[in-house]
């Protein structure tokens, strides 16, 4: 009979490192810690890849192709390298990784507080306390939806959803839907709801426009080859701004079709500017839509030039189709600035306005005046505290599954060195144990 993991690992106690969260990043860190023989445990509030099981809409697929999905010592080996994983595929992938590395995961263990104690930390959970010398925050960048303040002024007749609570169009009544936000989620949800026969208005602020396929290859292949995904946080001009960049307008469909604002306009979605307020039941939109579209078109043009230059420098081989340029984003007539939600029977607003991590249980003074975690490329501003998976944390790819590997290799080395300097070394203890 297989012994339960609960028997192999005590419910609580002392350990060198506590990793909080058994998603791809926490497990990748677990693998690197194991390689360094660092005693650790991975605490998970639910099951492995929990948010992929419970907090994703039904049709969601990764923005990265399958061939790109890899974790330390592990890669996609399926039959469809150019496809895109569904949420349940991601669960299988991460679950498979957890089994492959034999990660010491304690599932159904919710962390309720982390406080500094002595030269380490005390991690309280709903299943006992852990004492440790280092903590890795791997609970993800998407803990809480970042909903604009305007949401509070919505009339009661309107249902507000986020990508965490939206599942599929059948949960909506047949009224119109305002989708706020034009990143990957906003565009995908606007598209899906429009196709379900409902009227959709999309509020568009700053966004990143990308074709799904460029010169015959997935855009992610180019971003990887040109080195854009590997750009480091300490090399870009303005990291604060770079970290705020929303996810690119991409969708992972079997047709590998480009999903951009022009495609949505053709399907009948109405574009308006950024949502700036709701007053007396009227949603108000910024008059800046044209400039936001122009900026995204200009950024796309610069990216494609950079890609073409790279291709030229690499012999413009027959593998690459000829360069392409895409029609500029059409903003038709005068986009509306006010919409009376009740009069136009808008009964749902979906806020696809991004997320922020939830560190409400972290009682260590490591937050700036705006409540953001202070860290230098994942090395948090307190000894022995690390974070993973935040947007552009160490590299542009940090928040992607394939972005975890480089980050955890570097951060586990930093963590290891810190433990050695601090003394009481884990290595001898492990060796005798």
């Amino acid at each position: 009979m297989i012994r339960s993991p609960l028997r192999r690992y005590p419910p609580a106690g002392a350990v060198d490192v506590v990793v909080i969260g058994a998603g791809h990043a926490g497990l990748a860190m677990s693998r690197c810690l194991a390689e360094r023989s660092i005693d650790h445990v991975v605490l998970e509030r639910g099951e492995t890849a929990n948010s992929w099981r419970h907090e994703r809409w039904d049709s969601l697929r990764l923005l990265t192709p399958n061939w790109q999905s890899r974790l330390p010592g592990y890669a996609y080996r399926g039959a469809d390298p150019d496809g895109y994983m569904s949420a349940s595929d991601v669960v299988d992938f991460i679950d498979g990784y957890s089994r492959f590395i034999g990660a010491p995961v304690r599932t159904h263990t919710t962390v309720t507080s982390v406080v500094a104690e002595g030269c380490g930390y005390r991690v309280a959970t709903d299943r006992g306390e852990w004492r440790c010398r280092a903590v890795v925050l791997a609970s993800g960048a998407h803990g809480l939806p970042a909903v604009p303040a305007a949401a509070e002024a919505l009339p009661k007749s309107v249902t507000a959803l986020t990508p965490k609570t939206y599942r599929n169009p059948s949960q909506l009544d047949d009224g119109g839907v305002l989708v706020v936000g034009a990143s990957a989620s906003g565009l995908q949800l606007a598209d899906e709801v429009q196709r379900s026969g409902r009227r959709v208005i999309l509020a568009v602020g700053e966004h990143i426009r990308l074709p799904r396929v460029y010169r015959g290859l997935d855009i992610q292949w180019w971003l990887d080859a040109v080195g854009i995904l590997d750009e480091r946080y300490d090399e870009v001009d303005d990291i604060v701004r770079a970290r705020r960049v929303p996810s690119p307008q991409l969708a992972g469909t079997p047709e590998r079709a480009t999903l951009d604002l022009n495609a949505l306009t053709e399907r009948g979605v109405e574009l308006v500017g950024r949502l700036v307020g709701v007053t007396d039941g009227k949603a108000q939109f910024s008059g800046s839509l044209r400039n936001h579209c122009a900026m995204a078109d200009l950024k796309l043009a610069r990216l494609l030039e950079r890609i073409d230059q790279w291709a030229a420098d690499h012999g413009d081989g027959p593998a690459f189709a000829p360069p392409e340029r895409f029609a500029e984003t059409r903003v038709e007539g005068s986009p509306r600035l006010n919409i009376d939600l009740a009069r136009e029977r808008i009964s749902t607003v979906i806020f696809a306005t991004g997320f922020r991590p939830d560190f409400s249980w972290l009682h260590v003074p490591v937050f700036d005046h705006k409540g953001r975690l202070r860290h230098d490329g994942g090395v948090v501003a307190a000894p022995g505290l690390y974070v993973l998976g935040l947007n552009f944390m160490r590299r542009r790819k940090s928040s992607f599954i394939h972005g975890a590997e480089d980050d955890v290799r570097e951060l586990s080395a930093h963590l290891d060195a810190g433990l050695r300097v601090a003394g009481g070394g884990h290595v001898p203890r492990r060796a005798v144990g």
Binding site: G287, N291, S334
Partner: protein, 186 residues
């Protein structure tokens, strides 16, 4: 032959702006400014506004001199036309804000400007302010700005300058997003 990096000079002290940005990041209370104007009625639709003092960097500040602006309406409104109309001042504000932004962004990107000319036009249906049709708003139904820019840069770089100047413009923001306005009588 000596090869020296060509440094653009648009007369903008970008280093000072960048160090101010750094300083105000560390001391955000200094970034809270108050802009002020006073206005006195002269006669008819003619008024004169004065701009002199403002508050910023935690203290009272002032312009080198008090600037005066006459506003009125043209003769076809049966007025004396002693100055631009208030709505034309809005166009002046937008044009000068975007132009200042273009010069600053160009300097920061090391782009030498030779000429920058903006032409603005705003549509307005007077049925709004005259109360003829309540469906028509008082203000502009739209603003069109056309820039003609001569600079040591590609068309795309110039387009990016203009886009970035809108992104960072206070007046563009004021015009494109709602602002609470409180008018009281003392």
């Amino acid at each position: 032959m000596n090869i020296t990096a060509i440094k653009a000079d648009n007369g903008v002290n970008v280093e000072a702006l960048l160090s101010a940005r750094q300083a105000l990041t560390e001391a955000p209370e200094g970034a809270r400014f108050k802009w002020r104007a006073t206005c006195e009625w002269v006669s008819g639709t003619h008024s004169r506004s004065v701009v002199h003092g403002f508050f910023g960097l935690g203290a009272e500040q002032s312009h080198k001199t008090a600037f005066r602006y006459d506003a009125d309406h043209p003769e076809l409104f049966a007025a004396d036309d002693n100055g631009a109309t208030p709505v034309e001042y809005v166009l002046v504000a937008l044009a000068s804000c975007l132009t200042a932004g273009i010069a600053t962004v160009a300097q920061n990107r090391n782009i030498q400007l030779r000429s920058v000319k903006a032409t603005l036009e705003a549509g307005m249906d007077l049925q709004g302010i005259l109360g003829i049709d309540s469906e028509v708003r008082n203000g502009f139904d739209g603003i069109k700005v056309i820039f003609e820019i001569d600079a040591d840069a590609t068309d795309q770089e110039i387009a990016a300058l203009v886009a970035q100047s809108q992104r960072r413009s206070a007046v563009f923001d004021i015009l494109t997003n709602p602002t609470n306005v409180a008018v009281e009588v003392r």
